[in-house]
């Protein structure tokens, strides 16, 4: 996946302002940055929701807008919120999304893994925050995608839930799935990522492996991040 000098404006304001980054296949890449830095807009450009004002985005060699129908079956997307009918039952929704794919994951195993069995008949509007997150993640991976985009995947989860999702992300990577995630949780980025990009004011201001960014563990990623984004915000 390649983003080259991407600019996306909302009216006058550039949400993404000349951002470039490359994601290598089979890795976990984290995009970090303050609220409003352009993380979600960047990810949404890769998913075909935002039309670049200039620059180029290629995902699996395809243009997310022009090649929409070719690209979508090959990627998995976890939205930050929403994404289901309010009256739909959790497993009904998952089965529906699975039916849009030709080789979906084995549903009983996925349901067990994400602990969706107990809330399977609950309407979406009555699911807890954590259940919604886990359902959303299930919908992102059920089609056996090559790349998954996870927008703050563990927000609102309890510590056990977070660890389970972390392990799932590692398993996805080990099986050859490319994972792109945005997060505010520095421990999450440090634990999971092969590559970290820090975004501020619509640009990448630092990139590297967690090991390099933390100077081989001399600093915590959170301190590095705070120093980077504090300097940038002045």
């Amino acid at each position: 996946m390649e983003i080259d000098n991407l600019v996306v404006r909302y009216g006058e304001k550039a949400a993404v302002d000349g951002l470039s980054l490359t994601v290598t296949g089979g890795t976990v890449t984290s995009v970090l940055g303050p609220n409003g830095a352009g993380k979600t807009t960047t990810v949404e450009s890769c998913e075909g929701f935002r039309r670049p004002d200039s620059g180029q985005v290629r995902v699996l060699g395809l243009d997310p807008i022009a090649d929409h129908d070719k690209l979508m079956p090959r990627i998995g997307v976890m939205l930050q919120e929403g994404g289901a009918w309010s009256g739909v039952r959790a497993l009904e929704m998952l089965r529906y999304v699975a039916s849009l794919h030709v080789h979906p994951l084995d549903l009983p195993a996925l349901i067990e893994r994400l602990d969706l069995g107990t809330c399977g008949r609950t309407p979406y509007r009555r699911l807890s925050g954590g259940q919604k997150q886990r359902l959303s993640l299930a919908m992102a991976i059920v089609g056996r995608p090559e790349i998954v985009f996870l927008d703050e995947p563990t927000t609102g989860l309890d510590p056990h839930g977070r660890r389970e999702i972390w392990q799932l992300i590692r398993d996805l990577r080990d099986d050859g799935v490319t994972v792109v995630l945005t997060t505010h949780a520095m421990d999450e980025a440090e634990q999971l990522s092969d590559q970290v990009h820090v975004v501020s004011a619509g640009k990448v201001i630092a990139s590297g492996t967690p090991d390099v960014l933390t100077e081989h563990g001399a600093k915590s990623l959170e301190d590095v991040y705070l120093a980077l984004t504090a300097r940038e915000s002045k």
């Binding site: 079956p73 929403g82 994404g83 039916s99 849009l100 050859g176 799935v177």
Partner: protein, 259 residues
């Protein structure tokens, strides 16, 4: 045994995606009480009131037995409620809840989404037609025209659905969900009384007839009435609805967004 996540992507065949989507929307609609009120209770109530109580004889429905005049007009109302009002409201809230966005990141595709929605609308209309036509016959409805009338009714249902579904999708695409809810209900009521759905165009004041006649609601209701009262195939009404569908469909394609 542990699950393997090794990538094996691919879209299901188009017809299966459309079928899945149509079934999904159909089930959600059946679960939704207000939508059923709009789809069945209101047209059925009107039919019983007009065709079964003598009220229809005192209202400007046209010349002839009240039930014969009421059935085609109530069918038009049923088509309007499902293909326009229900569809617009449901789609508006799908946008609000991020469902359209979620589907935009799925293999469904625009054509699949559209075809699935039309499929669910047509499935609801089959139920509406069965109930209303059954109730009509029970009240002594006596349609004329045989095969031509059947063909005319089907033609009107399909052309009317194309025109009004386009209008509903356009509204849901450009307005907020709450505004769509309000506007779709308002327009339903306005067309019901002012759009020649329940009253033939000829009963309107002379000065208004020229305008009312051009409305898609007038074409749909008059086309259905001509089919079952005179046994003719309403080609002019079909053409009018097709033109509306073409213009509105073009606007939908220009304004459609996945988020």
């Amino acid at each position: 045994m542990s699950t393997t996540y090794v990538p094996r992507p691919g879209s299901a065949p188009w017809h299966r995606k459309v079928y899945s989507h149509a079934v999904m929307e159909f089930r959600l609609l059946l679960r939704n009480g207000e939508q059923l009120l709009l789809a069945l209770v209101i047209p059925l109530g009107l039919l019983l009131l007009l065709g079964g109580t003598g009220l229809g004889d005192r209202l400007p429905l046209g010349d002839g037995p009240a039930v014969d005049l009421a059935v085609p007009r109530v069918l038009a109302l049923a088509v309007l409620s499902t293909s326009f009002t229900s569809l617009a409201i449901a789609t508006g809230f799908e946008r609000r809840y991020g469902v359209i966005k979620r589907l935009g990141a799925s293999p469904l595709s625009r054509t699949g989404l559209l075809a699935g929605k039309i499929g669910s609308v047509l499935a609801i209309q089959v139920i509406q037609l069965a109930v209303l036509i059954g109730a009509g016959f029970a009240l002594g409805w006596n349609p004329v025209g045989g095969a031509a009338a059947v063909f005319g009714v089907l033609l009107m249902v399909l052309c009317g659905t194309a025109a009004f579904a386009s209008l509903g999708l356009l509204m849901a695409g450009v307005l907020r969900a709450e505004a769509t809810l309000a506007a779709a209900n308002l327009l339903y009521l306005l067309l019901l009384v002012g759009g020649a759905i329940m009253t033939p165009v000829e009963e309107y004041p002379e000065g208004l007839q020229g305008v009312v006649r051009l409305l898609p609601s007038a074409a749909l209701a008059n086309g259905l009435a001509n089919s079952t009262l005179e046994g003719v195939v309403p080609w002019a009404a079909a053409l009018s609805l097709a033109l509306w569908a073409g213009v509105l469909g073009y606007l939908v394609s220009r304004t459609f967004r996945w988020d």
